[in-house]
């Protein structure tokens, strides 16, 4: 099966600066290991949901895929080509065929440029000829349902929803194969977040896009993604078709996440606690299976041995010694 994107053993690691105080109290970790050994595929026309809480590394993974954050290990292959090296140049082709939508839509637009200029910029950067800048900008705005007049506005003159749409338009400027969306509904009211997701779905059908959607909102990701990848402390802990993961989660953390989500129905209140404790700091990773400190099913072996990310025949995987049935 030719996957559109193939990530193998990707790790991202930042060295921590050695300060004077480290002479007196040496830290255990000299590196900030944000992503550890992540492997996954994205198929053509697929939407993959990347789910996790703070410190899970999901945003870093999306950025590493585009080379915005240098990887310390692992391979990335996109559209049949391996990305060789870590330099900005290595990602040139990828950045032409893949685009990113950022979490804060207004902050991700250069504040002194007009929307029209921002929309045409991808063409200029990649040397694509543009017959009429104005027409191109208007076409892209129409694609996302914004009036042509918006080309004259500055980013701070846009509402959150409007800026998101501009972000979508900009991402689609060069007809990418893949779009990475970082929290596409962050800051949007419930009554309008459907707008942006419906737009993304429609465009997916029209242009044959594949998406990676990074989010912490499980209820939402259930409706937009085909497959789910759950992350904890920089590692993948579960991977599988969305419906399966929701129906029968195999990793205790996935189970806890699903249980923790508050249900908008007073008749279905959760009386017991889904999960205790806090997310450990990545500077102080637990031994063995890194989830064992909060897992209600943890056993002795969980503390001592780190489980592998075992994939089964259907491509689903779980990182657990004793996956739930």
């Amino acid at each position: 099966m030719s996957a559109l994107l193939n990530i193998a053993n990707l790790s991202v690691c930042f060295p921590l600066a050695f300060g004077l105080m480290d002479i007196f109290s040496p830290r255990r970790e000299r590196h900030l290991r944000v992503l550890e050994d992540v492997s996954l595929d994205l198929g053509q026309g697929e939407t993959l949901g990347l789910v996790g809480e703070s410190g899970s590394g999901k945003t870093t993974l999306a950025r590493a895929v585009l080379g915005l954050v240098p990887r310390s290990a692992g391979d990335i292959a996109f559209d049949g080509e391996m990305i060789v090296g870590r330099s900005e140049g290595a990602f040139r082709t990828m950045r032409r065929k893949a685009a990113m939508m950022f979490q804060d839509p207004v902050a991700s637009l250069s504040p002194r440029l007009k929307v029209g200029t921002l929309l045409v910029e991808p063409f200029i950067i990649h040397g694509e000829p543009v017959a009429s800048r104005r027409e191109t900008a208007e076409r892209l705005l129409a694609l996302v349902g914004l009036p042509a007049a918006f080309a004259e506005r500055y980013p701070h003159e846009l509402s959150g929803g409007q800026a998101r749409r501009v972000g979508v338009a900009r991402a689609l400027a060069l007809n990418p194969r893949m779009v990475l969306a970082d929290e596409p509904t962050a800051g949007l009211d419930v009554s309008v977040q459907g707008d942006i997701l419906n737009l993304m779905t429609r465009l997916k059908g029209e242009f044959g896009l594949s998406y990676i959607v990074v989010t912490h909102d499980l209820a939402l990701v259930r409706h937009v993604s085909d497959r789910l990848a759950i992350m904890y402390l920089g590692r993948l802990v579960e991977l599988g078709p969305t419906a399966d993961v929701f129906r029968a989660p195999r990793h205790p953390y996935t189970r806890a996440l699903l249980d923790a989500e508050p249900i908008p129905d007073p008749r279905r209140r959760r009386e017991d606690l889904a999960i205790e404790g806090e997310i450990p700091s990545i500077l102080n990773r637990p031994s063995g299976c890194e989830f064992h400190t909060r897992c209600r099913f943890a056993r002795e072996s969980c503390r001592n041995e780190a489980p592998d990310f075992t994939q089964d025949a259907s491509g689903s995987a779980v990182r657990c010694h004793y996956p739930l049935e």
């Binding site: 809480e53 703070s54 009211d189 419930v190 009554s191 309008v192 977040q193 459907g194 707008d195 997701l197 419906n198 779905t201 912490h216 909102d217 499980l218 209820a219 939402l220 259930r222 409706h223 419906a243 806890a256 996440l257 249980d259 923790a260 989500e261 508050p262 249900i263 908008p264 129905d265 007073p266 008749r267 209140r269 959760r270 606690l273 889904a274 999960i275 205790e276 806090e278 997310i279």
Partner: protein, 322 residues
């Protein structure tokens, strides 16, 4: 029925801005009695945070009370002088804010700050205040409380800081606790813990709790009665079960329909409410939700009143028959 502890009557609040007067709250009525947990739910621009700030007397400088009163016990809160307001706020009304990161001063220890929060408790010494602080930290589920007292806020995670913020609020034994989006900034597993904590605390807390949130799930988990707000007005008020299972106002119904957690089928299209919230500086006559309402008709052109369908359930819509 006992007299409500808190009674907001006909409250209207404006903000003076360069764009004009923003009518953030219009003729809002609300009550909370001791032992109740009230939920105020709505989306951006509905005025829920303004209402919470008004009750705690924390409105910004450009806010003006256009009409109405807030009665707390027997005091008319808005008409007290500055000193009396401060005393009320410190002793009787406590607030927990959305952002646990900025709730505390970074240069003082947690212990110092928790002791400082008790400054209105004359008659007990510093040692006793410290003990109370420690006990409260234990009560909100912080292990090694004694160590934490000597630590600084930046040494704690967001979830822990929110717990400490709740502890700080409860230290004064307030009669009214207001929580403005208490879990919005937290990860879902921590959110569940805070919800669990609030539920446990409620059991031996005698006062009233008001929870402001845009998340229906949080409201459903914690509240007894709910006020639904839209564009500065209360559009529906009801006991918790009625709101979620027998909503009468079109906005409430539409809002519930949009919540992805309530959708059973994975459809091709997610439901939304068409249109945008109205410009609060230039409000239309008549029902403020009518432009976006699928049931709108000519009768919506006049201002709508709250119609009661039962003792405790009312909706601001002419379609509602008592």
């Amino acid at each position: 029925m006992t007299d409500p502890l808190l009674s907001v009557q006909g409250l209207s609040v404006n903000f003076r801005t360069p764009h004009g007067f923003v009518h953030a709250l219009r003729n809002v009525d609300m009550q909370a009695s001791a032992g109740e947990v009230i939920g105020i739910v709505g989306e951006s621009g509905c005025g829920k945070s303004t209402l919470a700030s008004a009750i705690a007397n924390l409105l910004p400088g450009n806010a003006g009370i256009a009409a109405g009163r807030i009665r707390f016990r027997d005091n008319d809160v808005l008409r007290l002088d500055a000193d009396a307001q401060r005393r009320l706020r410190g002793r009787e009304i406590a607030m927990v804010f959305q952002d646990p990161m900025t709730a505390f001063s970074p240069v003082l220890t947690i212990g110092q700050q928790l002791i400082e929060f008790q400054h209105q408790m004359t008659g007990i010494g510093k040692a006793e205040k410290r003990q109370r602080a420690e006990a409260m930290l234990v009560r909100v589920g912080i292990s090694d409380a004694r160590l934490r007292l000597d630590g600084f806020p930046h040494e704690m995670s967001g979830g822990m800081r929110q717990r400490v913020a709740i502890a700080a609020a409860l230290l004064m034994n307030p009669s009214l606790l207001i929580a403005d989006e208490p879990t919005t900034a937290l990860d879902v597993t921590l959110e569940a813990q805070i919800i669990h904590l609030l539920r446990a605390l409620r059991r031996d807390y005698n006062g009233a709790i008001v929870i402001v949130s845009h998340q229906l799930g949080v409201i459903a988990e914690l509240c007894d009665r709910v006020y639904v707000m839209y564009a500065g007005e209360v559009v529906e008020l009801a006991p918790i079960d009625d709101i979620f299972h027998r909503p009468r106002h079109p906005y409430t119904q539409a809002l519930l329909d949009c919540d992805p957690a309530r959708l059973n089928q994975r459809g091709a299209v997610l439901p939304t409410i068409a249109g945008e919230i109205p410009d609060l500086t230039a409000l239309p006559d008549g029902c403020v939700f009518a432009p976006r309402c699928s049931f709108a008709d000519d009768r919506c052109r006049v201002p709508q009143v709250l119609t009661y369908v039962s003792d405790a359930h009312a909706a601001r819509c002419h379609r509602v028959q008592p």
